[in-house]
Symmetry: C2
Subunit: 457 residues, 2 copies
Amino acid sequence: MENSIDSFFQPHSIALIGASVQEEKISNVILKSLIQFGFKGKIYPINPRYKEVEGLRCYPAIGSIRGKIDLAVYAIPAERVPDAIKEAKGKVKGAIVVSGGFKESGPKGMALEKELKSAAVSSGIRVIGPNCLGIVDTVSRMDTFFVPPGRAKRPPRGKLAILSQSGSFAVTAMDELASQGIGISRIVSYGNRADVDEAECLEFLASDKETGAVALYMESVEDGRRFVEAAGKCAARKPVMAVKVGKAQAGMAAAASHTGALAGRYELYRAAFRKAGLIEADGYEEFIAGCKALSTSGPPASKRVFIITDGGGIGVNIADACSRLNLEMPPIEKEAADELRASLPSFFSVSNPMDLTGSVTDELFGLALEKALQNDTYGLAIIAALWGPPALTDRLPAVIAGVGRRMKKPVLVCSPGGEFTRKKDALFRRQGLPVFRTPEEAARAAAVLAKAASKLN
Amino acid sequence: MENSIDSFFQPHSIALIGASVQEEKISNVILKSLIQFGFKGKIYPINPRYKEVEGLRCYPAIGSIRGKIDLAVYAIPAERVPDAIKEAKGKVKGAIVVSGGFKESGPKGMALEKELKSAAVSSGIRVIGPNCLGIVDTVSRMDTFFVPPGRAKRPPRGKLAILSQSGSFAVTAMDELASQGIGISRIVSYGNRADVDEAECLEFLASDKETGAVALYMESVEDGRRFVEAAGKCAARKPVMAVKVGKAQAGMAAAASHTGALAGRYELYRAAFRKAGLIEADGYEEFIAGCKALSTSGPPASKRVFIITDGGGIGVNIADACSRLNLEMPPIEKEAADELRASLPSFFSVSNPMDLTGSVTDELFGLALEKALQNDTYGLAIIAALWGPPALTDRLPAVIAGVGRRMKKPVLVCSPGGEFTRKKDALFRRQGLPVFRTPEEAARAAAVLAKAASKLN
């Protein structure tokens, strides 16, 4: 299909309009990002002023390249973009316009965006943007984000896709998640969506085999019906989490000036999310916690949570946080409780939350978790392993992960603390266990998974 | 006053009952902590089995030390503690009993705790604990926490005191705060409070010149009236934040087994907090955010928040988070807004939140913040400085801190992101600015300061 957006995610050739040798220019950053990220296709810098940029042959115009190009990235002043798109007619399939200065910037920009829209229609070129960062794609190794990797880490390959209306949100979330080792398939910062919108991206992701879950950050939607249809299609196949910001009156005003969109009444969004079967989440922290959970764990069979810890105080905090998010924490079933009492030292409290105290060992941690998860009482578990107990070793994460795999249940790790604790995070991650830094973050992640359970069951 | 608890915080001599040469024993960890933290007074290891422990002369019994001892730390099995306390009568002023196995562990422990209580009364020795970590005191350089510094960082000296019923919470919060460079005066993990309780600690802190603010973590209270009186006395002189956990039914059950205390109905605590003028906060995350705010900032003159950022999406998130916590975010006053429009590039949105966009410079950031804060519209500001904009330099934190000082208003820094961003945190901290890692964390801190404003005004 000529007009599909698939070519954005599997380009064989990319032209960079406005390529520059000047390091401080965003077009220079983008070119370096493309090269460094390991894009395997052909890259064509375009600028009449240079013969070569970053070691690549530079072309004076898009017309001077032989053959068709899958993707063109535009990093030129807004007023030159519409004509440049028209110029690429018949030559280019898709365009990413990172330039700002469109409808987010007032009446003049709004007129420019109209021009851009009609240029897209008349040329048959699909457009992502303007006023966006474009795409980071770990599958096709494409990276158009104009924040250098030294300032914002790129993620390893993974099964979670991220869609974001806000560029600064996309880059901040990517940096945070990548720094925590979270794998991602594709990130799309779509900005003002003069052409391609979140609905079309959701349709693509619905059938994208590289993507197992989707996280969507939105400030507004333009065509509600289309959005619900596309989101519903995607959510029927994989968990889709959505965060809508601009709830506050003040927040609304900010969102309106930020991408030129009206944030709208939150209740309408809620209803749309419910209709489409989306997992509703709230703000930056729930977005990050949800991404961490969805990137590592499938939806649990039920939303009943078992909490186990070696530090009583933290267990109480997790229970409080879970309770605030309306998670269920039923007590351990009699049979399992009896078995646990028979096999554990008497000073361990056999309850939910369960406190294994400072006398815990790796084996007892695993044993208690396994017995509690062995029947249908719980759909998932939060373990808070504080590293105080002297008998705990670096083998603990493998023991815990083994139980999760055998019981086929998501296990979330809550590990609050400072430098020493953070150094241990990698041990859990290497075992495929997501690590959360506060009781509340673990509860947020559990709540997202619990909602995923109720959508899919 | 012979029975005051002052000697716990200015001891000249400490005896460690049950000192051991075995590295895995907690008494060995405590002795090392005391030495490493730089305690200036005399340390007496006590154990009939050794002549020397960790290079210090070891005494067979407390009675073999000449003269009186300010403080004795007990790290011996629970059943031996009551007699050991009686043995120290007339010799020791205060005792910290870190041993567990008292009322938190069932009927036998409950009987032991009764014995401990009467031993304290009959010997005239004040007791902190049992089932606690004791004290980390950056003023007297005393450290009885039995988690080694390599596993839980000790804080630099500061003006915030922390009281915690839960030992695991105390050590986790200390580690987290210390790893973020937050200064603390004294931390008391008081455990089962067989004798000294949170009320007496609050009375001490009320007149403690080294402490400018207090953070209290509690699971329960035994004597509500006494608590309200002591807390009210302290809160009249300095901000006191209190977190009460065990709200959830499940949380309650966990708290009950954890320190043997009944968590009680939360509404009663709320009323008590209000009566005493405490700042109520919620769970681990609000505790940490509140500690960071109170350790660096005095209460603002009003609770009206100004939000300024260089990434629109993050500004919207902060506004949403502030709105959820009922903070006020009035628009910029006309006069200041006109001044700002005259002195700023036209594409900056002059509003609250204010988005300076990727074109911001250090100077424009400072200028916009200063003009917005110059009159009484706002009591405090949250700045979200994302490090994407190419013109921002490492001078920004000094510029921002300068504005805060000149305007005499707390400025909270919201800086979400990954590794690069975390490396920049120290720049803000060096300028005395607290750094928050998510929009929600910054909002929580602002909410705590806003509550401090309303208590003191």
